[in-house]
Every structure is written in C-alpha cells, then in structure tokens.
C-alpha cells in the first residue's frame, strides 16, 4: 500500500460520460487483478473524500490506467484533470481475483456497466493461464459499451457475449440471459463465475450460480470513507453471522472487494 501523488499522462473520453485515466506513479508498483486505488485530484478541495477506482490495466511498472464513469461530484472532479495534473493516490488496495488453476479451467467472466473496469486484468490473467474463458459484457447502449472498454476486451481473443439494454450492440436485454444460456450449454462441467457490476446484477448472477451449483466470485462496491480499513463504513452483510457477532459485516475495502457470492447476505444492499 503506497500513498503518493501521481501525474496524469492522459485523461481521454472514450464515449460520453466514460473516460480512461492513465497515471504515472513515478515508482514501481505491483498490482494484482481486481485491486483498486483511492484517487482524488490534488488541487480539489471538494469533495473531500477520495474515490475508489479499480486498476483497469498495467502499462508498465509505473503506469496504470483507470476506466471510469462520470456519475457525480468526485468523478466529475477527476474528469477535469489535464495531462501533467496531480492525483493523490493510495494503492494497491483490497484483495484480488482468486485464480486457481484447477478450478478455473472454465471461467465465465460477467461484467455489467463500468464493472468491466475490474475484470480486464482478470481476463488477461485467465488467458495467460490458458483457461477456457468466456466473457459476458452488458451495458446500456453501444456508446456505453465503448465507454466500458469493449474494444479492449475484443483484443483479448476470449469469446465475448455482449448485451445492451437498447439492443444497439449485441443481444438486447440483460447480461444474465446469455450467461444462463451458456451455463445450460456447459451444464455438468465445473466452472467459476467472476462477476462485477451493479448490486442487482450481481445478486442475480449469484442466484443463477447457486441454481447451477457453480462457484461464483463477485467484486462488490460500497461507499468508501478511507479504502484501507479504518472507517468501517464500507461494509457488506454476511450470511453466516448473527446480529450479535462481530462478524456480521465485513469491509469491502480490505476484506474484499472480492468475495465468494455464497457468503453475502444479498438482501442487504451495501450500496443502500
């Protein structure tokens, strides 16, 4: 975990509301797929809290990129950054996608919307491990899909199923539809689902995984105060623990963001 000020190399709009931020950290970093950073424009006084962004890609020992959607005050402030600008950064944070060779002969990667940002490196690693992988991407529209990095996923040479809400690219509808279809096709074969996206999507993926009795790993989001475990603000409810135990809630930032979907109490939305 390093606390530093990184320099903006570029901050390009991919499509309306989606941007790719490339940062030069001026020191060597080791980042594993699924880890994230807490970022904030250096000169920005408001909002005060940093924002969690998954590391999208490693461009060398000192250069990382982040793919983000502009949704509110914090990402808006990031979107104003120009090359040469400074970013306060704490990273790498959180655990990473568990890639277990024996398990992951067959891997289904599911991303909804900007959830894609957390799985590109996972896909790269799966390909490197020669896993039999399949990627399912869902987004609102073709433009959103471009913003969510679909073109980077296309270069991976992993089979790719695409859905959009408006049908402007790929199949029309939810990403869970081709996922379920695929699971029926390969039924009986052990596989692992890796999912990242909106809470409702992950909840549905978890249900599907449970019904097919396959392992499902999710990367969760929660509002974060600190990103390194001290505020205990970013919790998600656990199935296991009763209301009385200390372990009813776990921190997304340090106990996660990646969890086995089977331990999550999905009725309690960490994003409220």
């Amino acid at each position: 975990m390093i606390e530093t000020v990184a320099i903006v190399e570029s901050n390009r709009q991919l499509s309306r509301g989606y941007r790719l931020l490339i940062l030069d950290f001026q020191m060597d970093l080791m980042v594993r797929p699924g880890q994230f950073a807490m970022l904030k424009a250096h000169s920005s006084l408001e909002p005060v809290l940093r924002r969690a962004l998954a590391v999208y890609r490693v461009h060398g020992p000192r250069r990382l990129s982040f793919l983000y959607q502009v949704v509110g005050r914090g990402t808006e402030a990031l979107s104003q950054l120009a090359p040469g600008g400074e970013v306060e950064a704490l990273l790498p944070l959180g655990n990473s996608w568990p890639i277990d060779a024996s398990f992951d002969k067959r891997a289904l990667v599911v991303a909804g919307g900007i959830g894609s940002a957390s799985v590109l490196m996972l896909c790269e690693e799966l390909r490197a491990a020669r896993a039999d992988a399949h990627v399912f991407l869902g987004a609102a529209s073709e433009a959103a899909m471009v913003g969510c990095g679909v073109n980077d996923f296309r270069t991976l040479e992993i089979p790719l199923s695409i859905t959009t809400d408006d049908g402007s690219l790929g199949e029309r509808g939810f990403v869970t539809v081709p996922l379920e279809r695929h699971l029926r096709d390969i039924e009986g074969n052990a596989c692992t689902i890796y999912a990242c996206g909106p809470w409702v999507m992950m909840k549905r993926v978890a249900e599907i995984a449970a019904s097919f009795e396959v392992r499902c790993i999710v990367s969760l989001e929660a509002p974060m105060g600190c990103g390194f475990g001290v505020c205990v603000g970013c919790v998600v409810a656990m199935k296991s623990a009763g209301q009385a135990g200390y372990d009813s809630y776990r921190r997304v930032c340090t106990d996660g963001p990646i969890f086995d979907s089977a331990i999550i109490r999905w009725e309690v939305n960490a994003m409220h």
Binding site: M38, V48, C226, F228, V230, G245, Y246, Y249, H272
Partner: protein, 313 residues
C-alpha cells in the same frame, strides 16, 4: 519502544500526567487500532492515537449504508462495530508495544455498567496511557437519551468511571447541546482529568428519489472540515469554563487548523476524518506545527494554548 525518533522538543505536551511527544493524536474511529497506519506513517512520530470505541463485548455495528459524504464532510452511523475490549488487549496491544506513542482506549457501553465492564477489562491491558470515555456517540441511543447530552447522567457516569479506572480519564463531549460549558463543568467536577471535544454533530441526508435517509440508521454524525468552526467555538467556550487540559477535535486537516484549536484553548488536538482522505495528515500537521513554532519564535507549543486575545476594535 525500541524505535526512536528525534522529536521536536518544542512540541512536547502533557495531559493528566501523560507526556505526549507532540500534540497530534489520531481520533477514535478514524485511526482503527493504530496498526492500520503502520504501513503509511511512522507511528513513532505521532503524539498518540485513540482506538476505535471499545465495548466490553464485540459489537456488529449497523447495516449499510453507514456513511454518506456531504459538503465538507461526511455523516457516519457505524454503530460502534468493534472487536471488543478483550480482543483489543489480546490481539492488538501486543503488536502496538513496539511503538513509542501514546495509546488512548476509547470506551463505550450501552449502560453505565457496560462502560465499567469495558474499563475493568482494559485495566488489565499493558501499554494503554489513558481512557477516553465516549459518552457522545450520536448513533446509539438508549430510550431516546444520549448520556452525553445530559449533564447529570454524564457526571454520574464520569464519577463511576473515574473510580473504576486505573488510568487518567478523558471524557469526550457531545456538541449536540445548548451550552457545552454546563456539561463540561459537571464532568470535570465529577472527576474527569481532561476533556476532549467535539464528537460528531447529528445530521441527516435524504435520498430524494427513494425518499428515505441515505444512512440505513436514519441519522448520523457529521464530521470533517464543515464542522471546524463549531468545534473551535466550543473549545473556546470550554477552555473558559474549566481548568483541566482540553483536547480539541473537529475538522482538523492541517497545522493551521490545529493551531486554531490550540490558540482557542486546547493543549492537544485529534485528527479524525482527514486521516481517511489524507493518511499522512498527522505527520504533515506535526511538521507544520514545528515550522510555525520556528517561524513565530515560539519556545513551546503549550505557550500557545489559550493564547487568544479578545480585544475588539
């Protein structure tokens, strides 16, 4: 205690017989159990830190959402999730031994007896310098009354805690009161060795589309730069009302902010929310205080405590 650091002697302060290398202390609930910061800063450099609120038994805390950001701050309703006083002693304290910094245990309970139980457990802990009695957490009401908002209830608990405590007792004041000096006087009279203030201010944020509070608990405690002017004012008022040393808290993000509190009446200060978004803020503040003393020709930071002048034109 093997590590040593060359502290600026101008920054030494003393509170209730405890010597702090400098007046900069990590605030409860924002500094974890200290260890979380070991990777980010040299813990030997800070004056001390206050643990997350410890209760006799572990507490699960509130369901999410527990935090929401506001302009200049955040609301929290963590619900005092903590590992419990015993686990703190067994699992955390031993690891903290090697740092030369003051450890203050923040103590919490749902009743007077629970407070005393937590203190009794912590009395066995080695390396704790003092207790900070958290009677002002706005997110835990029993029967609608927050102990810290009632001078009588607060004084009663303070007296009992002082009896039970093997260590100096700091009582942390609630800002959610009409006159904080009434509360302060009652608590000092009951035996508190020092007062810390302020805790968070009760607030609420509403999701206007879902038409419900953004925090699952409903209301939460406001912290961060937004509350600093209120906190400085209360420290100023309390410093005029009691003789025990005061620890100033609320929205501190820099040495300049810290100095506002010290000049208004604080002997030391705690930094809370700023640790979240600027994990090295304690160190930067210490360096800034050194620089200020240097440039202003101040021999000891304590000389600045309550140095405020009130001449009006």
């Amino acid at each position: 205690m093997t590590q040593t650091f060359n502290h600026d002697p101008k920054l030494n302060v003393e509170i209730a017989g405890i010597r702090f290398n400098n007046p900069v202390i990590g605030a409860s609930g924002t500094f974890g159990y200290g260890l979380e910061f070991a990777e980010l800063i040299d813990l030997n450099r800070i004056g001390g830190f206050v643990t997350k609120g410890l209760s006799a038994k572990p507490l699960p805390g509130n369901p999410p959402a527990r935090i929401v950001e506001t302009h200049g701050g955040m609301l929290n309703a963590i619900g005092l999730q903590n590992i419990g006083a015993r686990a703190f002693i067994q699992e955390k304290l031993p690891q903290l031994k090697r740092y030369d910094t003051r450890i203050i245990a923040n103590v919490f309970g749902y009743s007077d007896d629970e407070y005393l139980e937590a203190i009794t457990i912590l009395n066995d802990g080695d390396g704790i310098s003092a207790y900070e009695l958290n009677i002002s957490c706005p997110n835990v009401k029993e029967g609608g009354i927050v102990i810290g908002n009632s001078p009588d209830a607060a004084a009663r608990l303070t007296a009992k805690a002082k009896m039970a405590s093997a260590r100096p007792l700091i009582v942390k004041l609630s800002p959610n009161v009409t006159d904080v000096t009434v509360l302060a006087r009652a608590i000092v009279q009951a035996g508190a060795d020092s007062l810390s203030l302020i805790n968070t201010i009760v607030g609420m944020s509403v999701d206007v589309v879902k038409r419900r509070p953004r925090l699952n608990y409903g209301t939460g405690g406001l912290s961060g730069p937004a509350i600093r002017p209120i906190a400085v004012r209360m420290v100023y008022e309390v410093a005029g009302a009691v003789a025990v040393p005061i620890i100033g808290i609320g929205g501190i993000t820099s040495a300049t902010d810290a100095l506002e509190f010290i000049i208004a009446g604080a002997t030391a200060i705690q930094i809370g929310t700023a640790n979240y978004y600027d994990p090295r803020v304690t160190i930067k503040t210490i360096e800034g205080l050194s620089g200020h003393c240097e440039s202003q020709g101040i021999a000891s930071i304590s000389d600045l405590t309550r140095s405020i002048s009130r001449d009006q034109s």
